[in-house]
Every structure is written in structure tokens, then in C-alpha cells.
Amino acid sequence: MLSARVLRQLARIVGSDQVIHAPEELIVYECDGYTIDKACPEAVVLPASTDEVARVVRLCHRERIPFVARGAGTGLSGGCLAVQGGVQIALTRMSRILEVDLRNRRALVEAGVVNIHVTQAVSQRGYAYAPDPSSQVASTIGGNIAENSGGPHTLKYGVTANHVLGLEMVLPDGEVVWLGERSGEAPGYDLRGAVIGSEGTFGVVTRALVRLIRQPQAFRTLLAVYDRVDDASETVSAIIGRGIIPAALEMMDSLFVQAVEDACACGLARDADAVLIIELDGLEAGMDGQARAVQTICRERGARAVRLAADEGERSALWYGRKRAFGSVGRLSPSYCTQDGVIPRSQVAPVLREVAAIARRHNLRIGNVFHAGDGNLHPVVLFDERDADEVRRVLAAGDEILRLCVAKGGSITGEHGIGTEKIGMMPSLFTAADLDAMRRLHAAFDPSGLCNPGKVLPPPEPAREAPVSPGARGGGSESWLAALGAILPPEALLTGEGAAGDAVDGVTPCAVASPETVEQVCAVLRLAAEFGLGVCPVGAGLHRGLGHPPRRYDLALSLRRLCGRIEHEPAEMTVRVDAGVRLPDLNRKLAASGQWLPLDPPGADDPEASGGGTIGGILAADASGPSRLACGGPRDLLLALTIALADGTAVRSGARVVKNVAGFDLCRVFTGSLGTLGVIVEATVKVAPLPEARRTVAIRCRDPRDAAGVLERAAGSELLPQHAELVNPPAMERLGLRPSWVVALSFDGPAETVAWQVARARELARRCGLQAGESAPTVSQRARRGLGRMVLGTPETVVCRASVLSSRVPDLLPAFRPEWPVWAHALLGVVRVVLPADGNAAAAVSRAREQAAALGGVLVVESAPFALKADLDVWGPVRPDFRLARALKGRFDPGGILNPGRFVGNL
């Protein structure tokens, strides 16, 4: 029990009527949407502001009282249960939508805002918040962030992590920080990404900056009815295999079809063995063609009937039924338990057969309603919680189902989280080392362990091996070179002159180690840790100019020879690659199956630029290009990583499935960490179907004001460009083209859709009184590659990358001199400018940075000659959350051997 003194202090913070401590009231807080585990908090407080949350957390921290945040209590894994008692912080009163910025497609909301209220606030003006968990009518944005919630439409639009740009959080010691983007992307570790999906164990999120999407112009929603579950399952793979990405692809078996029909009679076929709800969305042009293609596939795979929803009424009836599926189970049995395993989607048919067998073996009823397109199963086990024996069988069956998912290369949870429910399963999915890495991430945020304790991670097992003690072995370079020679074959070790090619900022390492296997990478790192060497991981070298000069640089760890493996699963649309694989090589291979990895950072997709970027390098630098606008950046495409940590252990995060929330996400933290936390050795990424057509409309503008007008209209239009680029006259000149301001809009997709967009883009230009021409594909590709090379940096140039709100791009331009080449991904707010590397560079950079800062943005020097770096602040001022970054670095690289001093804040 909390003492009367603590209760009094809580009351002083939030008001006495906002503290609940009577046992007969607390009882309703003992569980959330997962009712098998129960735990009562000792008090519940309902703060009204971030400040009140912070004061409550500070009090808890001071008094060593555990605390946990709670939203609507709709979680399905017991994530908000107060398993160690203490204080539950209910954020339901913090439910205001604070700002809506449609031009830049974002909204600032409090954590207690109900998911669907965000969409409701902007839907009249044609926008929406994309993640739509079935609980969206009740669940809160804060809760969605904790669980990294998905939903039916994540197949196309991604999960919460792809739609939360930044967040305000109260750290477990009561400090309030802002993580992630505000109005420009600040460099540093992706702590925002780490927090999303951390199940409320890293702190209490109080506000979020969420991304809004344009509501699709058109929908085609189909209901396909099957007499065999297998046929329905195979349809799923067939649709995706054909390169069609529906917005949602949902499946329901007979048990659910009947329950849903009882609940809301939404027109499913009662006697079906399985139904698929397939939704296509996007632009009207080309939509009928896609819908016909899907109908044909369904029929080919044995659908008894395929019905296209005739109007919005029929469409919403189908979704109304689907979203109420779980709730409707109450009609079938007193209790139910939903599993949330994920499998590669091509495995749906065999896995469902095995699930049915498990149900028979345990004498249980199991129904299925799930996100088939994602391979995210939801077997729902029906039972009566008053029957102890049945409960035991339910838990055993659940265990078997999840083990089955793991055995198929999947995960134990796609969107519900680990919570208290699946802690016991964690060791079946992760090694002790994987879990230890997650613990390190957690400890960087919550060293005290008071924030939502008892969740996600099982208690650590005692270490079997003695940890590496950094710098334990002494001796000069001869001794460690000799030790290295014992690990690597001679051709994998270069010394002396041979190492000059991997010099960084004029510093040449003693040696370049080029391991060919993950084991060798780990061995090299272990050795480096023991000798306390300064190690810079290197790939193609495209980003070598980034960051401060290394404080110490003994050994270059080249990943270029770790490139043997490309495991492409076309039906899954995923590929697993070694870190040293080059992007052009990968895309050549994927193209054979009609797919590509939609990343195009400057130089990386250009075989003539040092052979193209390596996957490891792209991920480490979080490098992206124009296609991020439509396809997302490396973080959005990354599914799993294998990382060699500074102590030489290899750990894995994520899984080879498109949806997975098991454990803390190291993938997002390591992406963009510039090799300062560990070395990326292998990655699994999502790939996309190659577009049927790509066309580019180039609009010549008389001046930047014209360009701003075009961009303004494009941003507010229904166009869905793949690229939206802005180039200034000097940059055009560099490309050997007629100098002028140009806005180039590229469109990818089905030929019909692209043609419609091209016509609309031309019309848009005409309305602005401007001339628009279509560039031939070879011309636009050459231009893009030329611009890419232009910003890779030379000894004569300084390249800066500014990030501002898309609407502020035109306001940033006056900060640059007219003769400096400028290239912007205008709708992303990313602007690159090339300055001469002369005596004025430092002053010019700081002026440009001031201008960016005045617009709420940031500016980073991506490349500069070594001689200038001493005068340049390459990263700009450190963020207020730098303390967390330092803690993270300390946990993962305590000896400071990885890229010492190069990252933000000289980490």
C-alpha cells in the first residue's frame, strides 16, 4: 500500500479527485483487453498535462515506486498491468488534438487521444491517420505507440512506427524530452523509433506528432467467398505475387463469419468456409483494372463468389463487421484468448491446417480472423475462464501455435505485444545475447527499472561466458596485427599502403580487415575490444565524409567482402542480404522477379559511383533519396538486422516477416547510428513490385516563387508522386542542362494511373502559367544520378543537407548564394546545397544553419574537406535528449571503440 503521505503528494499534483485509491475502485484497473492476467495498482492518477505526468513520475522515482501508463486499456497482452503494484498513470484526460497542419500532413496530439478521433478531425478535408487497429474506436495514440499497433491497412500503409514522426516523453526520472522530428529531422540516434513498440517501459509518452495521409480517392472492396480455407490462403499469395499490394487483405474462417453475421449482419456468406476481404485503394484511374485482376485471381484459386462492394454503404458494412469480429466472440463463448503469431504469408495454408489440428488435440474451438496479407494470424481460442482445466488447455494450445509460428521463421506477435502474456515465449524466439542487447537498450532509458516493470523481457539468465573487458590486452600494433592475422586469411587483411584507400578525413588506419563471414566480423570486433582499438566500419565509402574526424582510427572494418548472400523470397516480397551487398547488384537480382528495393540515396544506386552503396552502409547512414516520399526510408523498409556488437557478440532483431513487435526494436535504433553502436552484418528488408510505368514531368519555373507555387499546389492535390524534386539553375548547369528552376514530379505505378497523374501534373503547371514537359526515362535517370554524384562531395566542395518542413523549403532558399547548386526532395523538406570549400565556407554554413533553425529546421554538413572540418560544426548543436544518446552509446560500446568521436556530440 502506498503511504498516506505519497497519496497526499499525488493529490497535490493532480488534484484529490483525480487520485483513485479505494480498493473497490481500483479493481476495474486490474486488467486491460487481455483478461487472463490481473494485477491491481495501488493508486491510479489521472493527470491533465505533461507537467503533471512529469511531477508524478518524479515523485515515483524519488520514492522508488513502480509506475505504468495506461490509455484506454484495450491492449491484448496485459501491457499496462501494474504487476508490481505502484501507480498507474491513466492518460485518458489528455485527449486534445493540439495542432493540425494539412500542408505538411501532420498533427500534434496528446497521448490520450482516441485513434479514430484523429482521422475524424481531418477526414472532412480529405486526410486520415493511417494505422487502424481494430480497437481504433477506443484505443489511444499513446497506447498505439506503446504497442506499435498495426491494423488491417498496414499491409500497404505500415504500422504506427511509420506514422509517428516525433513524440514528447516523460523519462523514468521525470525529465521531459522531445524525441524525433519536430519540424526537421535532427541527426542522432532514432530514439523515437526505439520508444515506439517499447510497451511503455521506456517512459510515459505524453504527446505525439503524427503523419497524416491523403485519403484515397477511390476504393474497391471485394468479398471473396471460399468453400476451402486452403483456396483462400493461396489466393493471398497469388495476389501479392502478381505485384498487387492491396490496402488490406483480411481473412475470416467459418466460425467468425457466423459470429460477425450474428453481431451485425454485414452480408458475409454464412455457409462459407472462409472469406477474404480485399481492399484496393488509390487513384480512380486504373482502379477497375486492378479490381478485375484481383477478381480473376480469386476465381482462379477457387472462390465460389466474388462480390465487389457496390457503394460506400456496402464497403463500410464489411469493415464494420471485420472490426467487430473480436468483440463478437462474446456471442460464442464467455472468454476468448487471441494469439497474434506472424508467419511468412506463403505459409498461411499449412499453418492454418496445423492450428486446426492443435485445436482438435486440445479439444478446443479455435476461430481465425486475421491480416492474411501480412501473414499476421489471429487464432482465437474460445473457452470459459471458470473452467480451470480448459484454461490450462488454452494456454498449452496457445504455446504450440506460437512455437509453430517461430518454427516457420515468423514471430510470436505481430501487433499485440509481449506484455505479461508472452514473456515466457521470448527465449524461444531470441537468444540470450539478443535479449541482453534489448536489456541494454532498455537500461539506457530506464536504469532504475521502475517504469512498467515485469514486461517484455524475462529476467536475465546468469552469464555463461566472461564478458570482454575493454582494453584488457596491451601491446603495440604488431601484437594486435598478429592476433588479427590468426583470425583472418591473408587476403582479408591489408596493412600499410594498402590501407590508404580507407582513410577517413586524412587518417589512414594501420590495417583494413575484410572479413567474409559474420563469425569473422565478431572475432575482429572482440579482438578490437580487447586491444582497445579505434575501429571504423566501412563499406563503399559513399558517406565517408559524414561526421567528425575519428578520434582514433586503428582499424578499418570493411564489410565489402561480406556479400555472399542474397536470399530473395519473391512471394514474401522480402530479401535477406549480407551487409556488403551493393544496392545496384541487389536490384539487378530482384528485377529478375519484377521487384526492387525502393531506395535511391545519392550515389548508392549508381554503379558508377564507387560501385554503388552497400546495404550496410545505407542502413548505417539511414541514407535515402527521392523515393522516400512514396516508399519510406531505410527504417520503414527494414524488417530484421543481424548486428555484431562491440564486444563481438552477434545479435538479431526483428524477423523475416513484414509485421513483428516481439521485443524492443534494435532495427530502428541501429539504422542511422553510423556504426557507433555496432556493426550491421545482415539485413532483411521489404521489397516492392517494379512499377509498370514511370514517367516524369519537368516543370520549368521562372524563379523560386513559381516553384513554390507549383509545389504548394502539388502538395494539396490528389497526386501521389514517387519523387517531387526541386533543382536550381546552377545544379541544372552541372547536369549540362538548360539552367532554370525546375520542379520534377515522377509517377510510378500502373500505366493508366501514371498517365492520369502525368496529365494532371501538366494541367497543374498550366494553371500556374508554366511550361511542363515530359522527360524521357533515360534523361531523368541520368539527371538524378548526376545530382547524386554532385552531392557526394569532393575536396573542392562542402555539401550540406538541410531538413525543414516541406512548406518552408522556398523560405530556406534565400539562405544560399545564387551560384550554389541546390537539389531538394521538396515534399520531404530535404534540401542539399553544394558550397565551394573556401575560406568563407565555415561562415556560410553557419549562416545557412541559422536560417534553417529560424524555420524550425536543422542543417548537417554531409561532406567537407578534412582541413575545413575543424572550423565546421558538422552536426550542429546537440539535441536536449543527448543524455540518452550518450547512455545508449555507453551501454553498447562501453570501450568507445566504434567510430570514436565521429557521431553527433563526438560520441
Binding site: 483513485i20 479505494a22 473497490e24 475502485e25 479493481i27 476495474v28 484497473y29 486488467c31 486491460d32 483487453g33 483478461t35 491510479v44 489521472l46 484506454a72 486499456g73 484495450t74 491513466a90 485518458t92 484526460r93 485527449s95 490520450g112 482516441v114 478521433h117 480497437s135 474506436v137 477506443a138 484505443s139 450474428d262 453481431a263 451485425c264 467487430r324 469480429a325 473480436f326 468483440g327 463478437s328 466472440v329 462474446g330 456471442r331 464467455p334 472468454s335 476468448y336 470459459d384
Partner: protein
């Protein structure tokens, strides 16, 4: 154990939370439908004694049943709450003051003479300027009273249909409406007659018993139900029209309420099967649109809880209003959100009732409507009082009154 099984229908999904007015105001789980069901279950499982704190949360429920509309599992929240309240009443756990308020309401409302006398006293208090000295609950009740009591011409026992009689309708005139808004009743009868209904007002009718049922006095409710079963079936009507949403909902459930009474079960079911709300019946009557004249105004429709949530009647009243020429119908934000009237709620829970009224008025003002239409006398009184208090130029009318005006406009040369 039947009740307990029904409690297990709740799978704790939480879909009801954002639809619950008290949860939206307070953000507390105990004041949400899911939380209350959890408390009811704890009471049933004897994990909790029926103490004052638990009761306070059960009593704060408006019984608006918005949660039933939202519930995918079909939890019968309203009847579970009534059963629990009845159990609590039997256990004698309710504080004396609460019991007195409930008993007083049950004593006053069913008897027009008592209600009229009380209203007269209220007006007197207001005139003497001593209203401010009264306890808050009475003050809130007083504020609801119309400035002048409308004239009390009783409804004729039988009103013939205009033209050929197509239906014989028995009309429930309602205890409070009879005294507080008789013009609404008159309009309903007139509209029904215009649409070819012969309307009878059974003399033996009385209170429907909803107040008793919601307050946990189940036996009293059953007594009243029996009286109405006898009185209404004696008229052999085709349809029984209830003038108030809550009364209609209660009468539609007589079959269930008297299911274990062998003498009445069958007749109660027969009665329930014939009950229609006024707004439910009229759009079904052929030719109700004939003779409607123009009514140039901007109107918005408020869903009474016991129409929208308890009876699922949402589209029909809107259809009815849409038929009126030149009446512009605009959406009311949170139209199916309780206005705080909820039977005798503004007497038992004046604080929450006030907050919900403010919320409703705020939404009404946003529509810039000239007329707010609500198909329930409780809502009419509540919203009228609010409009009066804020000094808004907005009329608050029952659909029947709007229709009657439209017909009258149609009759003008």
C-alpha cells in the same frame, strides 16, 4: 446464474468507452460501461460488497445505453444494470438520501396531480425568489420547469382519423409529458389522425414503470406493467404509440419483464410486439407526406438515447423531417450523445447532468440551427431549459410539433 452468464458476455474489448458520456467527461474506468460491468461482476462474484462507492459509480450511469449500440458482443447492459440496481436495493445498501430521492420520484411522477402540485410549488418558490436557498438537486429540477405551465386540456379519449381510418392506435400519454408538455401530445395525436389513424387514449393507463425499473424497484415496475397490459389490450389496438422514448423502450420490454408471470406473460409479449415510437410509425404510414407545407428554417436533430440506443431508431425521425419542404436539416455533432436529462438523472446527478447539457448546447450552437428537434419529452425539457438559460434564439420541438406546423402551413391558402 443467468445474470452472471450475461455478465460474461463482456469480453473487455473497450469499444464502449468512447461512446459513454460519463467516461468521456471523467476518463475513469469505473464510470465507463466496461468498468461498471466489471463492478457488477465483482458484486455478483462477491468480490466486492455493495458499498456506497460502488453504488455511486453505478448510479452515475445515465442508462443511455449508447454502449449497447457500440458493443460487438451484444451485452445487455441496460438490463444487467437494472438487475444489479434491484439487487443492491434489496440488500438495502443504498444510502438513505438516494433512496428517498428515488422513492420521491417514483411517488411524484406517475401521478399528474402530485406533479402539478409540485410544479406549482416550484413556480411559487421562483416567484418568491427563494429558489437559491433550495438544495442543488431541487434547484436543478426547478430550472427545468417551463416558465409557465402549459394549459392542461386533457386529450380526448378518442380522436377519429381524418378520412378513412387505416389503423387503430392506442396512445400512451406519459406521466410527466401530460403535465409539462401537453402541446407535444396534442401535436402527436393530430398528426396521427391526419395520417389516417384513429387514436384512443386508454383511460386505465398509468406510468410505464421505467423510472422504477432504472432505480431498482423491479416489483413496482412489474405492477405498473400489468396495469398497462390490461388497459391497452382492452382497446384492441393495431399499434401502441408511446410518446416518450424511455416509455416506449420500457413497454417494448414488458414481455421480458413479465416473462415469469404466467397470468401476464403472453399478453405482455403481445403488447410489446405492438409498441412503436411515434417517429417509427409515422414514416411507415402511406401518404404522411401529403399536405406538408413549407417550413423555411434550419433544423438539427438530437437523438434521444432511448430511441437511438435502446430501440435503434435513428433514420426514421430524420426521414420524417427530411420530408418537410424547405426545412434544412443539418447534422448535430455527437447527436446521439445524452443531453443529461435521462429520466430523473438531473435530479439524482445534477453535476454530471449539467456538464452533459453544456456539451449538448455547445454542439447545438455550432450547428447554427433555428430549431432543435428531439423526439422525447425529457430531452425537450432539458434542452429547452438550457436554451432559455443561455438566452439562445432556438426553438426546441418534438418532430410531431414540426410536422403539425408543416401541415398547418400546407393548409394555408
Amino acid at each position: 446464474m443467468k445474470r452472471h452468464d450475461d455478465l460474461l458476455d463482456c469480453v473487455h474489448c473497450g469499444f464502449c468507452l468512447p461512446t459513454c458520456p460519463t467516461y468521456a467527461e471523467l476518463g475513469r474506468e469505473m464510470d465507463s460501461p466496461r468498468g461498471r460491468l466489471y463492478l457488477m461482476r465483482a458484486l455478483a462474484d462477491k468480490r466486492l460488497p455493495p458499498g456506497a462507492t460502488v453504488l455511486q459509480h453505478l448510479d452515475l450511469c445515465l442508462d443511455c445505453r449508447a454502449c449497447e449500440s457500440a458493443c460487438p458482443s451484444g451485452v445487455k447492459y441496460g438490463s444487467l444494470l437494472e438487475a444489479t440496481r434491484a439487487g443492491v436495493a434489496r440488500a438495502g445498501a443504498r444510502p438513505l438520501r438516494e433512496r428517498l430521492v428515488n422513492r420521491a420520484a417514483e411517488w411524484v411522477f406517475p401521478e399528474p396531480a402530485r406533479l402539478r402540485r409540485l410544479v406549482g410549488l416550484g413556480h411559487l418558490a421562483r416567484r418568491l425568489g427563494v429558489g437559491g436557498l433550495l438544495p442543488r438537486r431541487l434547484r436543478e429540477a426547478l430550472a427545468l420547469l417551463p416558465p409557465r405551465l402549459p394549459h392542461t386540456g386533457a386529450l380526448p379519449e378518442r380522436t377519429p382519423a381524418r378520412g378513412r381510418a387505416r389503423l387503430r392506435v392506442a396512445f400512451l400519454e406519459g406521466c410527466a409529458a401530460r403535465v409539462l408538455c401537453p402541446e407535444m401530445n396534442a401535436a402527436m395525436v393530430s398528426v396521427l389522425a391526419r395520417s389516417g389513424c384513429e387514436v384512443v387514449v386508454p383511460a386505465g393507463q398509468g406510468c410505464c414503470g421505467a423510472i422504477h425499473l432504472h432505480g431498482g424497484s423491479r416489483e413496482a415496475a412489474r405492477r405498473l406493467a400489468r396495469r398497462n397490459v390490461a388497459a391497452f389490450l382492452a382497446e384492441a389496438p393495431d399499434v401502441i404509440v408511446a410518446n416518450a422514448a424511455g416509455c416506449g423502450a420500457a413497454m417494448k420490454e414488458y414481455g421480458e419483464l413479465l416473462a415469469d408471470d404466467p397470468a401476464y406473460a403472453e399478453r405482455a409479449r403481445a403488447l410489446s410486439a405492438r409498441v412503436r415510437d411515434f417517429t417509427e410509425l409515422v414514416p411507415e404510414l402511406p401518404g404522411f407526406t401529403q399536405g406538408l407545407g413549407p417550413l423555411p428554417a434550419r433544423a438539427t436533430y438530437h437523438d434521444a438515447c432511448h430511441l437511438a440506443h435502446a430501440q435503434g431508431i435513428r433514420a426514421q425521425p430524420r426521414r420524417l423531417l427530411a420530408a418537410i419542404p424547405e426545412l434544412q436539416l443539418v447534422d448535430l455533432p455527437e447527436s446521439d450523445w445524452c443531453c443529461g436529462s435521462a429520466g430523473i438523472y438531473n435530479v439524482t446527478q445534477p453535476g454530471m447532468a449539467r456538464r452533459l447539457l453544456e456539451r449538448k448546447l455547445h454542439n447545438i450552437e455550432r450547428t447554427r440551427a433555428d430549431i432543435v428537434v428531439a423526439a422525447n419529452p425529457g430531452c425537450l425539457l432539458q434542452i429547452r431549459a438550457g436554451v432559455r438559460e443561455r438566452g439562445l434564439e432556438i426553438e426546441v420541438l418534438h418532430p410531431a410539433e414540426v410536422l403539425e406546423r408543416s401541415y398547418q402551413a400546407g393548409e394555408r391558402p
